[in-house]
Subunit: 170 residues, 3 copies
């Protein structure tokens, strides 16, 4: 893993792997189970279509590359789930909702986030951890899953966005 | 409505309607009343400026094309609304907040989501439903509003993003 | 400050400052303390790399340009924070979580949002307030911080997005 601190902005210039391939860059800023899926669905699909794909894990999204197994979904304040808040507040309901979503996903043949991480990696997707977030949250290099390719700051991210055909903030 | 399953990725190649017009693609992933607005405000504005506009309804955003009338806003966990959580948890408060927002919108002359759907459609905005989300949530073709033009998977979405001038994830 | 109402769409054509510089446009739609950071981290980094940067404050993001000091973070319904909902609901917990996050940020040398606003402005970042949001929420020109450069509608936003190299919705 290559660590590029924010103090070395000058050296952090992003070099795309190829000039020819389309490039997709996704910022993964959410740490809930539901919002962890879209980046991986898009990343694996784009990689299958031979795009160069980069995932930038920042803020709550850092949880995906430190503790994917523990991601949860909260029915609280999410009217789309249809569970009344007064029930959602009961201790254990977040775990129940998470269990139910995982069960539903298994039944419909959807891969888990842990599996999607491996699928994305095998397809060549590049994983970047956000250095300012690590500093703020106390996450160290050793806490990151081995799939992380490097640790980069906002300047390198901007360079990458400047080279990407599509950049999404999720 | 044309259904393109994810099993037919090869055929799902996106063909833009025109080479000349600017293209906007918006992923609608949220199912709350507040976050349903930005995609339609942008879509109708872009269409008025003669852009080709595509809306891709996925995850919680599927609620917009199945049950727009029932979209709610939750004051829980949303400090911007200024309602203390201990009040927001009271049964019925989500409905009260939703009613208040709709009333405010009506007073200031803002169209409803149902109206915006019709406005967008009349302006030529193209509606896509996400097939993996439908599989996961059990939504069928018959549950979709007639404004939906087709059902597509992630591969077709990536093709579309590759052709778009602007792609946003909301 | 230049006010461009949505009734003057024709005149609102966006003129980029320069043809040569890369352009970044960020929609700031969230009013929580955590989600107020990413736009400013990216904006200041891009400006340091000589990009032309535009921030468009809309929906809950309007709070950033009216009352940045009061932005809060809610642990409710955010499993990433690891605080059980049954504790988060206790009156005052939103303030406690906000205090804790601000303390953590100070300890790790991260600037406050108020400071980031000044840093962004000094670096040439351009601030736009969303006119439909102001109408809906009753915010007037006088409520906006002086850093706001103008008030624009969705049509001008679309023009800007059409000229930008990267457009993000946060």
């Amino acid at each position: 893993m290559v660590e590029t601190s924010t103090d070395q902005k000058q050296e952090a210039k992003f070099v795309p792997q190829s000039e020819d391939r389309k490039k997709l860059l996704i910022v993964c800023s959410k740490g809930t189970l539901d919002m962890a899926f879209p980046p991986f669905m898009m990343a694996t699909s784009a990689a299958a279509l031979d795009w160069e794909v980069h995932l930038y894990f920042t803020f709550w999204g850092m949880d995906i590359v430190t503790n994917a197994k523990s991601l949860k979904i909260s029915p609280l304040g999410n009217p789309s789930m249809g569970i009344p808040n007064i029930l959602s507040i009961i201790p254990g309901m977040t775990s129940v909702a998470t269990y139910m979503m995982k069960k539903k996903m298994k039944e419909t043949g959807m891969p888990t986030i842990e599996h999607l991480i491996k699928m994305a990696k095998q397809a060549g997707v590049i994983f970047h951890a956000c250095s300012p977030t690590m500093k703020l949250s106390g996450v160290t290099k050793d806490d990151l899953i081995p799939e992380c390719d490097d640790i980069i700051g906002a300047a390198t991210f901007i360079d990458m966005a400047g080279e990407a055909d599509v950049t999404l903030f999720i």
